[in-house]
């Protein structure tokens, strides 16, 4: 083995290289790697959290949608009921109106008929009186027998 001064030179070089590596190479790289690892871990954790939040929000939205649907159905139900009620009321009102108008018309017709009958009776009475007058022109005093005639008219 030819060991010689090269050994000393290499030993010094070795020591210098290791010291340089220890001061200027290893710490920045090692720190950067660790910091990046932490950053990535944080990022992944944030993603997990966001996913959970999203699932929660979706659940909430689903619930709200269900509630809204139920509410809408209820409102429609109520509206239908109210519609039916209003329809019934309108029909009842219309019926009542009809009855009313009918009754009024009947009453009017009745009144007209009564009036016509009265007129007719009066005319018949007048006719009867006129006839009787012609027949009994002389024997019967109109004024003296007016009460009888009146009675006759009543009986018609």
């Amino acid at each position: 083995m030819n060991l010689n001064a090269t050994l000393i030179g290499e030993l010094i070089a070795f020591i210098v290289f290791v010291l340089f590596c220890m001061k200027f190479v290893w710490p920045p790289l090692s720190n950067a790697i660790e910091a990046r690892q932490k950053k990535i871990a944080d990022g992944l954790a944030a993603t997990d959290r966001a996913e959970k939040d999203l699932a929660l929000a979706q659940d909430k939205a689903k619930d709200q949608l269900k509630d809204a649907k139920a509410q809408a159905a209820e409102i429609i139900e109520q509206a239908k009921k109210r519609e039916a009620k209003m329809l019934d009321e309108a029909v009842a009102k219309a019926n009542a109106e009809r009855e009313n108008i009918l009754a009024q018309a009947k009453a009017e017709v009745e009144a007209e008929r009564n009036r016509l009958r009265e007129d007719l009776r009066k005319q018949v009475a007048a006719l009867a009186v006129a006839g009787a007058e012609k027949i009994l022109q002389r024997s019967i005093d109109e004024a003296a027998h007016a009460d009888i005639l009146e009675k006759l008219v009543q009986e018609l």
Binding site: M1, N2, L3, N4, A5, T6, L7, I8, G9, E10, L11, A13, F14, I15, F17, V18, F20, C21, M22, F24, V25, W26, P28, L29, S30, N31, A32, I33, A35, R36, K39
Partner: protein
């Protein structure tokens, strides 16, 4: 003729396995063969240049990524660098249970640096030495056979030994810091043979010390020699394959593909063993 061919082949291999040397002779710089008598104070300039160059490349790449590091979306280069960081950090976290700001950057430096140095093994063996020879002959008027260029620093025992010694010093430092000097001495002397009888324990101390010291010293030795041995052998086979002519192409391909595994594995093993040894050094329970 046959003898001459053999000579050129062995000198070719020898040339590939020789580092470019630098030393001072009589107060002035001398190179290569002039340094054969220089002894310890010889510098392998190719090993030094390639290893420091690759180390600077490593630091530049990672520093540029570190400057741009942010918590935003990383680019492809950023991702690649961070993958390596995460890989090293995971291994350190699994193995080393104490708190230390040093272990992870140390492991990263060892892993990437050793990997880059091993990676030079995949550059075809003759390319850069031939280029260096051409440069030497053209611009410096040297004989190109006198220009040496070994481009894989981890095939130089000095390189792997330096890494292992660095780790060894850290092991001792951690042992003393965590357990104290007394604790470290106790660990070396009171295990593996321990007894409650004091005189007997005193007799056992030398054996314990011997065993523990061997175990302790074996760690840097195994670190240095494993990496060196694997890469040296791999380089040697590349050189041999490179010397056999046209048939080298498929063989070189197969060995290179296999070597991709070896270079990553050796870098990983060196890093893991460093972490394990330092973890053992800083844990109290023996």
């Amino acid at each position: 003729m046959a003898a001459g061919e053999e000579l050129t082949l062995s000198s070719h291999i020898q040339h590939h396995l020789t580092n470019a040397k630098m030393c001072t002779v009589d107060g002035s710089l001398a190179f290569n063969k002039a340094c054969s008598e220089a002894g310890f104070w010889t510098w392998h300039i190719d090993t030094l240049a390639w290893s420091i160059g690759l180390g600077l490349l490593f630091l530049m790449l990672f520093r540029s990524a570190a400057k741009k590091a942010s918590t935003g979306v990383p680019g492809k280069f950023q991702c690649f660098i961070e993958m390596i960081i995460e890989f090293v950090a995971a291994n350190v976290k699994d193995t080393y249970h104490g708190k230390s700001k040093l272990i992870a950057p140390l492991a990263l430096t060892i892993f990437v640096w050793v990997f880059l140095m091993n990676l030079m093994d995949l550059v075809p063996v003759d390319f850069l030495p031939a280029f260096a020879g051409w440069v030497g002959a053209t611009f410096f008027g040297m004989d190109s056979h006198d220009v040496y260029m070994k481009i894989v620093p981890t095939t130089d025992i000095n390189m792997t030994a330096a890494l292992a010694i660095g780790v060894f010093l850290l092991m001792i430092g951690y042992s003393i810091r965590i357990k104290g000097v007394l604790g470290f001495v106790k660990e070396l002397t009171l295990h593996p043979f321990s007894t409650k009888i004091v005189p007997l324990q005193i007799v056992l101390i030398p054996f314990n010390l011997l065993l523990e010291l061997i175990a302790l010293v074996a760690k840097p030795f195994s670190l240095a020699l494993r990496l060196f041995g694997n890469l040296y052998a791999g380089e040697m086979i590349f050189i041999l394959i490179g010397a056999i002519g046209l048939l080298q192409l498929p063989l070189h391909f197969v060995w290179a593909v296999f070597h991709i595994l070896v270079i990553v594995l050796q870098a990983f093993v060196f890093m893991m063993l460093t972490i394990v040894y330092l973890s053992m050094a800083s844990s109290d329970n023996h």
